[in-house]
């Protein structure tokens, strides 16, 4: 099994979140959702977590906040400023959620209560973490809404979710996450299914607020194109493990893991001035992640890999650190 030693020194700023040896299991028939995940998040940085369904990215997000279902068996440690969140009890976690670490869920129309006014829902988050009068709460909510770019703050405060457009709802969800000035924001597929205009709007809103607050951001997505020009670092997950980690420019210029290479090939390369290039066929990564892939002794990506060799099926590749700023788990990286 991979060791838990992890000595990446990419970042000189102090570490905000340290995850060591995080393993999540749901009981025997189900495959392990996360296996020996090590990750550091520094203050103020934006980390993009890239992975498809089943890669464990959402499980990672939920474990940080202690929101996994009761039957999940969790091992390892998640240390936030010295406190191990996996050892904390429910009230300890409730104090952290929304205050130190906040999460933006995928569909704001589903993650907001349909029968409460949007402003009240943001106020509830304040009420849960701060001693403030009703008036102070209201002012804090209005300030948060203004910061996120709303001009008609009054209308938004009093609106119910079904009265707002998709873009407005996304911004409300961001305001709700940021209202208590958390140190870390986790956005779990916050832009899935959105059209390009809304996507860029949400990304800009996130980046602006993050810049103002100085909070770290973990941006979880399946689409690498969103991370270019947005993230500082890219972490690629597959079948519950981290298979590659690199600074964003290094990643896009030269992806090392075959899975990363496959993903980046799918981003349409537009020729300037003459529109898009029509394809006859896309260079899709063949196959898909199956349950048995999780259990294999070898590399989980091996069945779909174009660079596979015999050793890939027998052993799971350990992490290799490169130049102290990148790591990759592959026998044949760079080929």
């Amino acid at each position: 099994m991979a060791s838990t030693s992890y000595t990446m020194t990419t970042h000189r700023s102090p570490s905000l979140l340290r995850i060591r040896g995080l393993t999540v299991n749901y009981g025997d028939p189900a495959p392990p959702a996360l296996q020996q995940v090590n990750l550091d998040i520094s203050r103020g940085e934006t980390v993009g977590i890239l992975g498809e369904s089943g890669s464990g990215k959402s499980t990672l997000a939920l474990s940080v906040l202690g929101l996994l279902p009761k039957k999940a068996q969790v091992e390892g440690s998640i240390c936030l400023e010295g406190q191990d969140l996996l050892q904390a009890d429910e009230s300890g976690l409730a104090a952290v959620r929304g205050d130190k670490i906040a999460m933006i869920f995928q569909e704001p129309s589903l993650s907001l209560s349909p029968v409460m006014r949007v402003g009240d829902q943001i106020a509830e988050v304040i009420r849960a973490h701060r001693k403030a009068t009703r008036e102070q709460q209201k002012q804090a909510v209005e300030a948060a809404l203004r910061e996120i770019g709303f001009s008609d703050v009054d209308r938004i405060y009093r609106a119910y979710p079904h009265q707002l457009s998709g873009g407005e709802l996304h911004r409300v969800a961001i305001a709700q996450a940021l209202v208590c000035r958390p140190n870390l924001v986790i956005a779990d597929e916050a832009t899935r299914s959105l059209d390009a205009t809304l996507q860029t709007e949400v990304l800009h809103a996130l980046r602006d607020s993050q810049g103002k607050l100085g909070s770290a951001l973990i941006f979880i997505t399946h689409n690498p194109a969103l991370l270019a020009g947005f993230a500082d670092r890219v972490v690629v997950m597959y079948a519950g493990r981290i298979v590659e980690e690199a600074a964003v420019t290094a990643f896009f210029r030269k992806p090392l893991h075959p899975y990363s290479k496959g993903l980046l090939q799918l981003i349409p390369s537009a020729l300037p001035y003459s529109g898009f290039v029509r394809q006859e066929r896309l260079p899709a990564i063949p196959g898909s992640l199956t349950v048995s892939d999780h259990w294999t002794h070898g590399c989980a990506f091996e069945p779909r890999c174009f660079a596979r060799t015999d050793s890939c099926r027998k052993e799971s590749p350990e992490q290799t650190e490169i130049e102290g700023t990148r790591r990759v788990s592959c026998f044949n990286y760079g080929n």
Binding site: G54, R192, D195, A196, H222, T249, I267, E280
Partner: protein
């Protein structure tokens, strides 16, 4: 390839023609007489060339899905004409439309909602075949298995419920259900949104293969311009219920004439340029 299609268009008649299609939704609040009218479609005009991929793009709320539903005869427009294979079908009764339905099929965005969770995958393929009296008995199951293989679902998935399938597998099943009837026109309403990038690519390849094998015509509704740019022959841009620009893909996407087209392209390009900069090694 685009120019070939345009030439083909001149030679063979459009498989579907839409003229002056309009639809308005009226809503009423429960306790007062106030009514809101929403013009979902305003005087839509369009031709769908056979054997090609025609794409409809536009923001949410521009009317793309309403148009798709009207063309699939799932909703009735208030006014206008729809010509399919030379016949005007917009005023046909349900009884008359029944045999036509196998020729126009639709794949939706949310397959979990569009597939009956109580049926097995094989049964989902069989059902329309049975209703349209194409097959019976053992032939029915055989044909279903053929279709499942064609869309890339292994035989072991045949007895599973759609709930047990992944998003990509569900879309394959939905596509299988649609092509089982050997349709002429397949309407894909945001069928690729919400899928992982890698799955999207696989499904796209499947669709392109099927189009080749079965000589299908596609109407692709999507908000993803980069996706559309890769596979469409013709592109229509919708805004506020109307088609503001329509033409061959290289023209519409390469030299757009309408502001809305330019705006959509700018957003798509925004992400693109960041990506290209990163690829080249700089920071945006």
């Amino acid at each position: 390839m685009g120019t070939d299609a345009a030439a083909k268009r001149g030679l063979s008649p459009a498989i579907m023609k839409v003229r002056g299609l309009s639809k308005r939704f009226v809503q009423r609040t429960p306790f007062s007489h106030k009514k809101f009218a929403i013009d979902a479609l305003v005087d839509v005009e369009m031709d769908i060339a056979p054997g090609c991929v025609t794409a409809l793009v536009g923001e949410s709320g521009s009317g793309k899905s309403t148009l798709a539903n009207c063309l699939a005869m799932l909703e009735r427009a208030d006014s206008g004409e729809i010509w399919f294979e030379g016949q005007e079908i917009s005023r046909w009764k349900d009884r008359q439309l029944a045999p036509l339905r196998s020729k126009i099929q639709m794949v939706f965005q949310d397959s979990a909602g569009a597939l009956n969770p109580r049926f097995s995958a094989a049964r989902i393929i069989e059902e329309p075949l049975e209703i349209q009296n194409r097959e019976h008995g053992a032939g029915l199951r055989g044909r279903a298995c053929e279709v499942l293989a064609e869309v890339g679902l292994l035989p072991e998935w045949a007895e599973r419920s759609p709930l047990e399938l992944s998003g990509g597998q569900r879309q394959r099943l939905a596509i299988g259900r649609a092509i089982g009837l050997k349709p002429a026109l397949l309407i894909l309403d945001e069928s690729l949104s919400g899928l992982d990038l890698s799955t999207q690519a696989q499904i796209l390849n499947l669709l392109l293969d099927l189009k080749q094998t079965h000589a299908l015509t596609y109407l692709l509704i999507s908000h993803d311009l980069s996706l559309v740019g890769q596979i469409a022959d013709f592109v229509g841009v919708m805004q506020h219920g109307g088609i503001v620009e329509f033409g061959a893909a290289p023209q519409v996407l390469g030299s757009p004439r309408h502001d809305e087209t330019r705006r959509l392209l700018a957003s798509a390009r925004g992400l693109e340029s960041a990506y290209r900069t990163a690829r080249a090694g700089g920071r945006a």
